[in-house]
Amino acid sequence: MAADQDKAPRGGSFLLEDVNPAQVFTPEDFTPEQKVIAETTRRFVDEEVLPNGEQLEHQDWDLTVKLLRRAGELGLLAADVPEAYGGLGLDKVSSSLITEALTRGGSFALSVGAHVGIGTLPIVYFGNADQRARYLPALASGEKFAAYALTEPGSGSDALGAKATARLSPDGRHYILNGTKQFITNAAFADVFIVYAKIDGEHFSAFIVDRSSPGLTTGPEERKMGIKASSTRQLILQDVHVPVENLLGDPGRGHVIAFNILNIGRHKLAVGCVGGMKAAIEASVRYAKQRRQFQRAIAEFPLIQQKLADMNIRTFVTESMAYRTTGDMDRELAALGGSFDGPSAARAIAEYALECSADKVYASEALDFVVDEGVQIHGGVGYIQEYPIERMYRDSRINRIFEGTNEINRLLIPDMLLRKAMRGELGLFPAAEALQRELLSGGHLAADGGDPADPLAAERQLLAQAKKVFLFVGASAVQKYMQALEGEQETLAALADIVIEIYALDSALLRAAKAVWRGESAGAGDSARNQVEMVRVYAREAMERIDARARQILAGMEEGDALRTQLAVLRRLTRFEPVNSKALKRAIAARVIAAEKYVS
């Protein structure tokens, strides 16, 4: 089994294969060092960031910079930078734990995140030795801060439509950059900008640009809905001379850098959302226990309990997905043998681009759900700024927009799957054909109960059926639309939803199964029971959503008898017996209320 555990599964393979729980990384697998790292971050947030929360929201950039430097002293900015360049070269689980712990401190986390993530990582992964040596030590220590400038007023999702230009100076020593970049996080104080521009208006490329360069200015601070503790401005480039040595990667290959960095950014965003969800649950359950109506705490009312249970379940599922992906990335990176170059590391991470997109979409929508219910539990005061849930609600919304809108990410998911299938990396087509034969044979498709000793037998069956639903409607859509599928955005997004639901359920179920297995061997079990109960509720709710999406896809393609035939097949796949989710959610909520926080 040890060898199995070291081998990371291929990206997207969760759609086809049954994964052994032992192969899945879960938060129960954190090492003592990883926990100490999380603890240090948490302490920094509790003792130094949260007490300054109000001042940070009022955009005191001197304070932001001071706290960023302090984070640098503690090593919190060095996790993803290799040791050879003054960093710590930590695994992705450790750096994810830092990201998660920081989000408890509000949008100061974004200042850190933009610096260590999209700001620094392009140099880590795509810088040459000289660029890495010149920039990374100061970025890792917090002496200098970085920002990332991709978006423009005229190009958001269509990143490659950038208008910023670069032309070589007559003496060949500089690129001269012109253009305007939009929504640049950390623009107020960043020392280094990763700027995308087209050489000669054609070749999309990335440059490292120093703030001190003449001609570089920033616009006024944007007045945002939320994440007010982070700086967001335009970056204006007027004949900025950038030394040719600061061209990042090859000319005309900027898109490779941009897309790889987005993968990582999406993953970090998902992990950050987990921290936000936990903070929202804490604030909400504490309020629900203290607020009394009709002579009792509102936490005693089942409808409030139902909300707390739903919030806890979504957080559990998100956490399971995000750390599963993290663990897979770490194993893929470890397989490179430690001393890898940047581009191969980026490729290793890109293996899980699909999972990163799924995590991003799911996490950002789960966070929106959790903060929304959080406000609802707070009632009227949830709408008042004195309560942190109000800020959390506003801060959450941006997550569905940046790092690729959720719509773009949804369109990417089926696209990535089809590419993998075409390249033969993922056996989607053979699996779809096998399913077709199974369906035609009229075989037994309904749940067979599974192993009676397995507390998750019915849920495993549901998950297996869900995977068949995806293959069935996915194959139908490919057959129906062929090359025209690209234009069928509604169908693509609905297919993406099914894929995301499957990855979410798969991850939650495997984590609970691992907890059961571990509980059996360790004699513990309360935590396993909580996880099993959450999965029992969640699996059925997910199946209902999957069924609805599948029906929507089929009804958009066929009509009359053809549609009825397909719906009949679908019904055979999506039948399940309900559980008493009312009772289960009350039990889950009771644990949240007792602990006054998220419970896994």
């Binding site: 503690l74 090593g75 602990a595 419970v599």
Partner: protein, 254 residues
């Protein structure tokens, strides 16, 4: 200076205590290095930094204690030991184990937190000193070394005491003794390479049945809230009457 620090991993003080099945549930609880032990570790590391020497940290208990030991190592301790047990020994047994560990080496200085935030008996440090036959000063707020003696201060009711103590001696640390440093990430990574010895009771020549406590937990329950608030209802007269009745009951219980 050869310094030994006794530590324990305890609940994060932010955690809510949940009693389940007659015991405090450890599910979903965040554990930290006992806050008073942080002062002890910090003091030991400061002495080492000033006078040289080696700092060893030791804990008795479950596997999870490793995280507390790693924290202490990241704060600057040089080596650690975990004496593995199920965590059910009381102060009597724990002190015997820690003393047995201490006897394996020669230490000039011994530190512990003045109490743990879970058991809160404040007994373990003094008991170990008694086992070892060394002087003990509990709950110190200042520590300096003067030659072969330690000069320490502690707060009494309304006044302070300064004591000069010959070494070896054991001191338990009170909140305010120093400002414990964060385990920074580079130090966490360095701590990974520091030795962490795992021992059993047998390794220390101890028989578990002779360590069992002289106390037994009879019952475990969440302390009832002592403050109760009741809103009086009705007309002002009725409320005044109800208040007077309540006060009378309070002054003259039946």
């Amino acid at each position: 200076m050869n310094i030994l620090v006794f530590v324990k991993q305890t609940f994060d003080t932010e955690e809510t205590v949940v009693v389940q099945g007659g015991r405090v549930s450890e599910d979903n609880v965040r554990f930290v290095l006992n806050p008073y032990d942080e002062y002890a570790v910090e003091q030991a590391v400061q002495v080492k930094e000033e006078f040289g020497g080696e700092v060893t940290v030791v804990a008795v208990g479950q596997e999870r204690m490793e995280q507390a030991l790693r924290t202490a190592l990241a704060m600057g301790a040089d080596k650690a030991a975990l004496v593995e047990d199920d965590g059910s020994l009381d102060e009597y047994g724990v002190a015997k184990v820690l003393a047995a560990f201490a006897r394996r080496g020669t230490y000039d200085l011994l530190f512990a937190g003045q109490a743990t935030v879970d058991g809160a008996s404040a007994q373990t440090g003094p008991r170990v000193a008694e086992e070892l036959g060394v002087p003990v000063v509990a709950a110190i707020l200042r520590f300096t070394l003067e030659g072969d003696r330690a000069v320490v201060e502690r707060d009494m009711e309304g006044y302070s005491e300064r004591l000069s103590v010959p070494l070896p001696a054991l001191f338990t640390a009170q909140q305010g003794l120093n400002e414990p440093r964060y385990p920074t990430l580079p130090n966490v990574m360095k701590a990974k390479k520091k030795p962490l010895e795992r021992l059993t009771l047998e390794d220390l020549g101890l028989a578990r049945e002779r360590l069992l406590g002289r106390t037994a937990t009879v019952e475990c329950f969440v302390a009832p809230k002592t403050r109760q608030r009741r809103m009086l209802q009705g007309s002002p007269e009725a409320q005044a009457q109800a208040l007077a009745d309540e006060l009378r009951r309070f002054v003259l219980p039946d």
